[in-house]
Subunit: 282 residues, 2 copies
């Protein structure tokens, strides 16, 4: 698989899109990197950083010459953007996205059988509580996992081509069915986001000056953009609700042990939690 | 207030005690820094790092010459250690601790009216999920808050002397009644610890490889020592249980908005959480 694309178009040149552009540029993987967006200022910032070589607010024009299109916008916008992109690309153009949920995006694509483009869903597990091309980094994907979510009807060659794209940016690639991706991400990312938000929101203002590293770490992702996260949470509602029930039940077990003064049970629960945490490293 | 103590004894030369020793040594605030502990290996490690100038496993001998004693052990051991220390110190020796809960420790001290030593409870809001003198750092307290918890019967001069000690180590000092300290710390530290543990424990093993920075941040403190944390959680049970109820109720609100597809309510809750988090900085 040749790791070079004459023209890559990035729709949404924020943290993820901008980082992909920087990685493409620094690794000389594309001749043209076209940034498409709605905000001229944001596009200018991406170009200023070297994440794209040219910019446009005209989506159809921006994707017309592309060999590969990456959609790196908010989840809620992706299905309708895919429709517009598919109407404007050359036949057989590779298209992928970077959305944090996959089942509804893939299903939206699949409901139309005759597509010009060839789409495989992606989710690079890299991010930040920061946003925008200013926060982009050429090494954002290095050594991080990108999940591809082909369906039984995805041509293997399309999947290999998109895998080659993310590999070329430094990512490790894993394939999962879209629904399995969403179920696991509910536990790995979406429910933790809700919990961090609940913790931050439930902290009385008077306690803020007494917070230290523990509170700061535990609530850090609650600083994320509410609009962006609302998209994700609403798109994966059932799996997230189910995982939140698990977390709440575990919290209740811990609380019961604390209230009962049951040291043995508390140690057992804390030790299980520590083992789960230690399995990941710091 | 002169910031020099001929002899400081540190009981428990782990992360906190070791860091206090390193700060005393690097700032030349004490001539002798005596490390007292049960583990010869740990004491040797503290001395090797320069956190103490001499060591002993004999508590009475270690505190006999002290001008100031800092008890930096697990919370559950502090009341009985204070009894032993009070029986061995010279009259009017200043004693403080670094326990993460304060009401029961202060009450245990106060239940005996005729003390040789003069105790003021302290809680430096500095820590780590790491442990031991190996993790100690001379700058651990710099710019961080240390809470002192005098009671209405604490002589103001004693409080000033202990405040001068922490200030000399670089800390900012704040006074709070012991029960108020415990109530606020339940929200700022203890309940977040329980929530991080619940989140780590409730994450299925299959989801682990899909975790990224968000999960790692949110669960980091779950790697803390279960014995040490069981002490803290059991000693502040009522306040923690009450705060956990708040967090669970907030989680339930978020979950209800997600399940109902109520984007406006979800944005409102996430925005409130973000404002609370943003008030603290990264």
């Amino acid at each position: 698989m040749t790791a070079h694309w004459p023209t890559v178009t990035i729709v949404g040149a924020g943290l993820i899109g901008g980082s992909a552009g920087l990685a493409l540029a620094s690794r000389r993987l594309a001749d043209r990197i076209i940034g498409v967006g709605r905000s001229e200022a944001s596009l200018a910032a991406a170009q200023e950083r070297g994440a794209v070589t040219e910019t446009t607010t005209d989506l159809a024009a921006g994707v017309a010459a592309a060999d590969l299109v990456l959609v790196a916008t908010r989840v809620g916008m992706i299905p309708s953007l895919l429709e517009q992109i598919d109407a404007a690309v050359r036949p057989a153009t590779l298209i992928t996205d970077a959305g944090s949920t996959k089942a509804s995006i893939v299903a939206a694509w699949d409901q139309q059988p005759n597509r010009r483009g060839r789409f495989v869903g992606s989710h690079p597990l890299a991010g930040s509580h920061q946003r925008g091309p200013q926060a982009a980094a050429a090494d954002l994907f290095e050594g991080r996992l990108t999940v591809l979510t082909p369906t039984p009807t995805t041509p293997p060659g399309d999947c290999e081509a998109i895998a080659a794209f993310w590999s070329a940016l430094g990512a490790d690639v894993l394939e999962l069915p879209p629904a399995e991706h969403d179920r696991l991400l509910a536990a790995a990312s979406h429910a933790p986001h809700v919990i961090a938000a609940a913790l931050a929101a439930a902290t009385p203002a008077a306690a803020r000056r007494l917070t230290a590293g523990g509170w700061r770490d535990t609530t850090r992702i609650a600083a994320g953009d509410p609009e962006l996260w609302a998209d994700i949470l609403l798109d994966n509602a059932a799996a997230i609700a189910s995982q939140l029930e698990q977390v709440t039940a575990t919290t209740d077990h811990l609380r019961a042990a604390i209230e009962a003064g049951d040291r043995a049970a508390l140690i057992r629960l804390l030790t299980h939690a520590k083992e789960s945490r230690d399995a990941l490293g710091s």
